[in-house]
């Protein structure tokens, strides 16, 4: 509640405060960087929080191998500009080591396998806090998660026994082997994120803007046929359409939106008019009513 600050300035102030608490209370924090808009805004806020010093966090990217090439280009360019250290965890390596088994069939995705790679990468890097761009408005289970969210030795979240979190006081105390997930933009909505990107003039990956792409339809959803990471059923016909990503995950779980949004203003207008949530386009959440909660308990993002 501020008479003078806009909601975006108030959200920004809160997120910067949280990021500085992370830097002050943890020894080896990292940012989970997916290349999506939320982790881009998060990284931007971290830059703003510590300027003129460098971001005191490494960027960790969990690479399923099923990327849009634009995501990797954007990631590498950002890392160069910030002078940040990038750590990449490869799902392919987890598969090669036999730690996870690749799903098969038409709906195969490496999305769930990422959890193992993520936990291994955090352990290898001895990271004690992983900062993520998850927002509470995204999904029912996330609406109840703390900003400083404790993970036990197995990397698991216990939703029924979370630490109380009051005012702006964050408790980062933990035992050896445990870690935290921290969500500085918990209180932002999809609209807040885009309005902030617009206000600050943050450069975004081209995937978010409408472009022509080879796509096919499955269960009422448009999916990318190029890059060709999703096995297609014989009846699934490839067509060229004008599409954009509303969220960016790996190719196998990113639904594409038919769109004519060529600028940030267009995107904001499109979101204001839309009647479907952004995760409505994510195949990974549709698996069951509590798909996200189940994945989170195991250590997912």
């Amino acid at each position: 509640m501020s008479k003078t600050l806009t909601h975006l300035k108030e959200l920004e102030a809160e997120s910067i405060y949280i990021l500085r608490e992370v830097a002050a209370q943890f020894e080896r924090p990292c940012i989970l960087f997916s290349g999506g808009k939320d982790s881009i805004v998060l990284t931007y806020l971290a830059w703003k929080a510590f300027y003129p010093a460098k971001i005191p966090f490494r960027l960790v990217h969990i690479d399923t191998g099923h990327n849009f090439p634009e995501t990797l280009t954007y990631r590498d360019e950002l890392v160069r500009k910030l002078g940040a250290d990038l750590v990449v965890g490869y799902v392919q390596e987890s598969i090669d080591k036999g730690k996870v088994r690749e799903e098969t069939g038409y709906n195969a995705s490496r999305n769930k396998l990422q959890t193992v790679t993520l936990l291994d990468t955090l352990a290898e890097g001895r990271f004690d806090a992983a900062i993520g761009g998850a927002r509470r408005d995204e999904e029912k289970a996330r609406a109840k998660e703390r900003i400083f969210s404790h993970r036990d030795e197995f990397g698991q979240w216990n939703p029924k026994n979370q630490r109380p979190e009051l005012w702006n006081i964050y408790n980062a105390k933990k035992d050896v082997g445990e870690h935290f997930r921290v969500f500085p933009i918990s209180n932002w909505t999809e609209m807040d994120v885009w309005q902030y990107i617009y206000q600050e003039g943050i450069e975004m990956p081209s995937l978010y803007f409408t472009h022509r792409r080879k796509v096919f339809q499955r269960d009422g959803q448009w999916l990318a046929a190029d890059p060709a990471f999703i096995p297609r059923r014989p009846e699934e016909e490839v067509v060229e359409m004008d599409v954009r990503c509303r969220t960016i995950g790996d190719v196998t779980c990113t639904g594409l939106t038919l769109s004519r949004a060529h600028s940030l203003e267009d995107i904001i207008a499109e979101i204001a008019a839309t009647r479907i949530t952004e995760r409505g386009g994510r195949a990974d959440d549709k698996r069951s009513e509590s798909a996200m909660e189940d994945r989170k308990k195991q250590g997912y993002f």
């Binding site: 501020s2 405060y17 609406a143 109380p164 005012w167 006081i169 009513e289």
Partner: protein, 414 residues
């Protein structure tokens, strides 16, 4: 656009989830796929009507048992304001969850069932709102359809409520009463045609228009979170103090005092990212540079040099809400986290425990259980820099952490 945070309080049958569902639904903040999921879930549970409560129950156990376990946060916006709702459950661990939800709220919406009027739980909710220093309370008199939209019934509840506030001496600056029927949407978002004798705003209109307090010019506080030292060729000597203003304003050229210690200096620069500001106000997060090279670190507090500086003490009284089953005991040590400070504290004595339903004070008590509220005296290993909670929420709140690293108590300094 401004931002407003509110919390909702009501017991299981007051229709609280329905109210929130209605607020989201009628303000068009629910999306088609969410509604489809709720319709599907309602059908599979054999509910005849769409159960809007399912929108807010996020965890599997909650949906299965039809109860809300934890504080959930909901978001919606209208062209006028962005809203954050802290939705707190009605029964299990009630006090603890409402205290949590109220700790970040500007407004508390307290539901009252028109058929039952002021109940013990209404007293409890209002007491917590007062304890947590919430300035604005909305008493939502719900289920008006079940009392034939009777003006008499509504007026009776308004009178009883004021009498209750006076009797228990609760401190709430503004109280607004709204008659409604959340189930049918009367006076939630849209004004009701079925309550012609009421000419006030709907709940949403009220939340959209209630005036925000003026930003105070004085009482400036900047708890230092982190010291920024780039040690780079471009910024070899830069030393900035990062923090979020807890109150007041800072300008370049202001004389500031550092607590504890009391050393003074002058502000030479204010930064937000790479932008230089000439002044900043609460709740902005900024970086401050000072003229003199003095020793300042995390936990210090900057204030304007003058009469209005924070207090410094090793012994003080707090109102505490105990959050866990493991009891608070006199003589035990806890880690206290307060603004950006962390100190060890000992519970010296429990002055009294407050019976939350009757507001009676009980003394001669040496331990507190979960959901208990009490006034206690604590002593800290080092002086704490603070303000009374009623003056400044950030500078007056603290949490207790036990040996298991768990957050076990929430306290407000008197």
């Amino acid at each position: 656009m401004q931002m407003l945070r509110f919390t909702t309080a009501g017991s299981v049958d007051d229709g609280k989830s329905t109210l929130i569902g209605r607020l989201l639904y009628d303000s068009k903040s629910i999306f088609e796929d969410q509604l489809e999921a709720v319709e599907e879930a309602s059908r599979s549970r054999g509910n005849e009507e769409v159960n809007l409560a399912l929108l807010t129950d996020g965890l599997r156990a909650e949906r299965e048992q039809g109860i809300t376990i934890d504080v959930a946060y909901r978001y919606f916006a209208t062209p006028r304001r962005k809203f954050i709702i802290a939705d707190t459950p009605g029964h299990i661990q009630y006090t603890r969850n409402m205290v949590t939800g109220a700790s970040t709220a500007d407004v508390a919406v307290i539901l009252v069932d028109a058929r039952h009027g002021i109940m013990e739980q209404t007293i409890r909710h209002s007491f917590i709102a007062s304890l947590l220093a919430i300035r604005e309370v909305v008493v939502a008199v719900n289920k008006m359809d079940l009392v034939d939209f009777s003006e008499e019934v509504f007026k009776g509840i308004v009178g009883d409520y004021h009498a209750m506030i006076e009797r228990f001496n609760l401190e709430i600056q503004h109280i607004t009463f709204i008659p409604m029927s959340a189930k049918d949407g009367d006076n939630v978002v849209n004004r009701s045609r079925r309550i012609p004798w009421y000419d006030g705003p709907s709940l949403l209109e009220h939340l959209e228009t209630l005036p925000f307090p003026e930003d105070p010019e004085d009482g400036t506080r900047l708890p230092v979170q982190y010291v920024i030292r780039p040690i780079s060729s471009k910024f070899p000597d830069f030393r900035g103090y990062a923090g979020q203003l807890a109150a007041g304003k800072l300008k370049v050229g202001d004389k500031v005092r550092v607590c504890p210690g009391g050393l003074c200096s002058e502000i030479t620069g204010l930064y937000l990212g790479d932008k230089e500001l000439s002044e900043a106000c609460a709740p902005q997060s900024v970086v401050v540079t000072l003229k003199d090279d003095i020793d300042i670190s995390r936990g210090n507090v900057l204030s304007l040099d003058g009469p209005d500086i924070p207090l410094e003490d090793q012994q003080f009284d707090v109102d505490i809400c105990w959050l866990r089953e493991q009891p608070l005991q006199v003589g035990r040590r806890y880690t206290l986290r307060h603004a950006t400070q962390e100190v060890t504290g000992i519970v010296k004595s429990i002055l009294y425990k407050i019976d939350i339903d009757t507001q009676e004070r009980r003394d001669g008590i040496d331990s507190l259980g979960m959901n208990d509220i009490a006034r206690i005296r604590i002593k800290t290993a080092e002086p704490l820099v603070y303000d009374p909670y009623r003056k400044n929420r950030v500078m007056g709140s603290l949490v207790f952490i036990d040996d298991n690293n768990d957050t076990v108590g929430a306290a407000m300094i008197r």
